[in-house]
């Protein structure tokens, strides 16, 4: 038996989707693959399993990354683009992909840079595009759609920058 679930998630709150996937596995629904840029999840029904899922983003595919993760027992599924969901069955202590603060800061920085790269053109181009429109109702309509997107973008950046600050504080406290 298989099922396909559409599930929206935010890059700055990846732990939510990780925990949701883990609960699915505990209920016997094992993630097989992802599609539609990582928001449609394909599951296969099996025995309940304890699986740690960890969402990761790399700027470009890296065979060395895949190799060291595979050696350490992680299975890597591509979510789309350079997004990955890494899965590892466990018993006892919940495994972590990143175990030090510096690597978590670097991972967070990758997320910030991808958000800047994808979001900035939208933020900058949209007002220019709106200005050029001749129909006023269309201008107003698109502005109404655009404003929540911008607010969400600002919120997401704020979240990631907040995580960055918290990690830096922790790093300073630990003498690093």
């Amino acid at each position: 038996m298989t099922k396909r679930v559409f599930k929206w998630w935010w890059a700055w709150k990846a732990e939510k989707i990780e925990e949701w996937l883990e609960r699915q596995a505990a209920g016997g629904w094992i993630l097989e693959s992802c599609s539609l840029a990582g928001i449609v999840f394909h599951f296969r029904k099996g025995n309940p399993m304890q699986i740690r899922y960890s969402v990761d983003y790399l700027h470009k595919p890296a065979p060395d990354y895949e190799r060291v993760l595979a050696d350490d027992g992680w299975n890597i599924l591509t979510m789309g683009g350079s997004w990955y969901v890494c899965c590892k069955e466990y018993d006892g202590k919940r495994p972590e992909l990143y175990t030090d603060i510096q690597s978590l800061i670097e991972r967070n920085n990758r997320l910030i840079s991808v958000l800047v790269a994808t979001g900035m053109p939208m933020v900058v181009m949209m007002p220019m595009f709106l200005k050029k429109l001749e129909s006023e109702p269309l201008q107003i309509g698109l502005t109404i759609i655009w404003i929540p997107i911008i607010l969400l973008y600002i919120f997401g950046m704020g979240r990631l920058l907040g995580v960055h600050r918290a990690l830096k504080d922790k790093q300073n406290l630990s003498g690093r």
Binding site: L69, L97, Q102
Partner: protein, 110 residues
């Protein structure tokens, strides 16, 4: 980066960074480093695979380690001279901590 810049950037080292660099006194691949660190810390420190990949990439970029061949399609790394210098500075710093810890009663014998 020259030695001064490396020391400024890396010291004091995190426990993970220190053990990863120390492990490469003998050439190893990423997973080999995870196993070695786990073994020499008596199972206390199990480094995450993402941490290993990220740290090795950063160390290689900064010239602390270099590729030293391949084994079953796994890249082997070894510490460089710059890495050795950094490691020595860190061991000296830790030695000072330890000495002062003992001298001023931080070992609980006071």
């Amino acid at each position: 980066m020259n030695t001064e810049e490396l020391i400024q950037t890396y010291l004091p080292m995190s426990e993970s960074a220190f053990y990863i660099l120390l492990s490469l006194e003998t050439p190893r691949h990423g997973y080999g480093v995870i196993l070695h660190v786990e073994e020499i810390t008596g199972g206390r420190l199990r480094l995450g695979a993402g941490t290993i990949y990220g740290t090795l990439s950063r160390f290689e970029k900064d010239g602390l380690i270099q590729p030293a061949g391949e084994e079953d399609r796994r890249k082997i790394y070894a510490i460089t001279e710059a890495g050795e210098t950094l490691l020595r500075s860190e061991v000296e710093r830790i030695g000072e901590l330890w000495e002062n810890g003992k001298r001023f009663g931080g070992d609980g014998n006071d």
